[in-house]
Symmetry: C2
Subunit: 356 residues, 2 copies
């Protein structure tokens, strides 16, 4: 039976990516060697890294002074590395708290400089994106989490400021176009919308990112990774390779504009069902609903197991909400086809009567 994978991450990737990656594990490019056993300094792997860089540049229309990097440690690793590199002891960064991930970023940043909490949606269980708040002009940067996978919120407009944004884009990078000049640093764990677990994409404005503000171990100093093109030490070669294949697929599909169109179509279909089916309700402010992470609940929690069973029967897996909030979550990243969302909607329809 065909499976529709709604896991939040590691998450669905295109089937053609799995096929090509599977072959490369046996024999990469006819070398007679596995992609897992070749040197990261070989011409063959450097071509992979080069293409990955080029695809990031092209898909996000990066100006020359922006530089990608493929690092390790997940977005969680960047919560600390960013302030270590950028935020001096006496400098101040602004953070917006939209839930779990932002909270963790804030906690790490406080170790290195001053943190001003500009806004916080904890008053309503992180069910919305704060919009009305004043932003000091002398902040070193303003940190946001563009999409919250746990709560199901997403920024649909950016804070109105000249302060450079530092954005955790782990769960919606490459899902839509972005206004790159607003950002000083973008970071994203690959395992949601870009590739498998094991690499973290950074995109930095080299005019914003200077030498580290304090002495740092070599691996924690961004300048080493920039100057060595993500090969300061052995990069996570297979994760970069599969990410590259996924970005190739994004390009072949029409790039981030095509992705955005498809993501709006899928999320609209699902939110319409949530709104129109009296058994379910959405958990986030409508204007802040995520096109990637659709969270919802049953009016009658006793139907939970029945619903999950029917999902499983239809091939829909990974629908359970994050363990910290309960309910349901359908992660509908780029690689989720409309058919998968239609299948889930059919299960929701079959579960019970419709409104009206």
């Amino acid at each position: 039976m065909k499976k529709y994978n709604f896991y939040a991450g590691p998450a669905i990737l295109p089937q053609e990516v799995f096929k090509e990656a599977s072959q490369a594990v046996l024999d990469f490019n006819g070398m007679g060697l596995s992609i897992l056993e070749i040197s990261h300094r070989s011409a063959e792997f450097q071509a992979v890294m080069d293409e990955a860089y080029e695809l990031v540049r092209e898909l996000l229309t990066l100006p020359d002074h922006y530089e990608p990097m493929f690092l390790q440690g997940g977005a969680s690793g960047q919560f600390g590395m960013i302030p270590m590199n950028i935020l001096g002891n006496n400098e101040t960064a602004g953070y917006v708290n939209t839930g779990n991930w932002a909270e963790k970023a804030i906690k790490d940043a406080k170790l290195y400089g001053n943190v001003t909490l500009l806004a916080d949606s904890s008053d309503k269980n992180y069910s919305y994106i704060p919009k009305e708040y004043s932003i000091p002009t002398d902040l070193k940067y303003l940190h946001i989490t563009s999409n919250n996978t746990v709560r199901g919120t997403q920024y649909h407009s950016l804070p109105d400021t000249e302060v450079k944004l530092v954005a955790d884009m782990s769960s919606d990078i490459f899902s839509r176009p972005l206004d790159i000049k607003k950002y000083g640093v973008i970071y994203a764990g690959a395992q949601k919308n870009m590739g498998p677990a094991g690499t973290t994409l950074l995109i930095v404005d080299k005019n914003f990112l200077n030498e580290p503000v304090r002495p740092l171990p070599n691996m924690m100093n961004y300048q080493n990774h920039i100057s060595k093109k993500s090969s300061y030490n052995t990069p996570p070669a297979f994760a970069v390779y599969v990410s590259m294949l996924t970005l190739r697929w994004v390009k072949a599909q029409g790039g981030v504009n095509a992705m955005a169109k498809k993501n709006i179509e899928k999320s609209t279909l699902l939110y319409n069902e949530i709104d129109n089916n009296e058994l379910f309700f959405g958990t986030t402010a409508k204007e802040d609903r995520s096109q990637m992470s659709v969270t919802f609940k049953l009016q009658d929690e006793e139907l939970t197991n029945t619903f999950l069973e029917k999902c499983a029967e239809a091939g829909c897996v990974g629908i359970k909400g994050h363990r910290s909030v309960g309910g349901f979550r359908a992660s509908i990243y780029n690689a989720m086809e409309l058919e998968g969302v239609e299948t889930l909607v059919d299960v929701m329809k079959d579960l019970g009567s419709k409104k009206g």
Copy 2:
């Protein structure tokens, strides 16, 4: 043509590991999902992580108070993380400098505490392992690099001290038994003798490793990784999986004792040819020769291209020495079969006349 992979890392792994990993990229355990797209919190992936832990424990005979972790960032990442966690500002650690990797570890450690350079083999181009030096008893730890892949040296006996060792074992972990009680921390990038690039094994003595000596970002605090069993954040799932498959293979082959026997056989065969063929010479002190990283040179450098061409014709790839030292290097990790070394030795024999 069959390829014999002598790359230093990422490096050869068993063919059966590639076959099983390739299948899992298409469909893991008959789930109808790729190993690359399943949640790290799924029962199926947790079983992988549990088995990886258990194999590390079993193969290295770890007492209960030792704990493995699968992290990211390579051994290079640990050069900084270790002193950040362990070495207080006013404490002193001893380091032995046996070349490139030790040098980098020393540089990072100096950022966090006092570093005493106990011994240094730079006087002879790092061609030997220092043995005669005094070790203060009040060191926080003594850091060694068990095998130097660039120079081709390896510790065959440990420093005689009660001070706990912190060892970078990236290139020879699981190649031979070890006296675990001597170690406070063992760390190893997977991509040489344990798996693909993308994960780093740590083994810590929980009686040695306490709470971090300074406030640290969450991802840099070992205690978070210990308490969450390497799933504090999304682990590098595929790299852990392939490492687990490789450790399963090590166990099936008879464990680290069987590996040691085979590694001695292979390295002896190759060193004998280096010593007996007048065209070649070894570059390291005989008593410190590595069983993993066999470095050698041609008496007549003009034969270099001819030799490399003949290697390629015989299927032997990855023989060129590290870019910083030149010459040749045959990395003969666990997964290199005797046949591969025999093939290389045949090429060396064919290249020219024998001594005597």
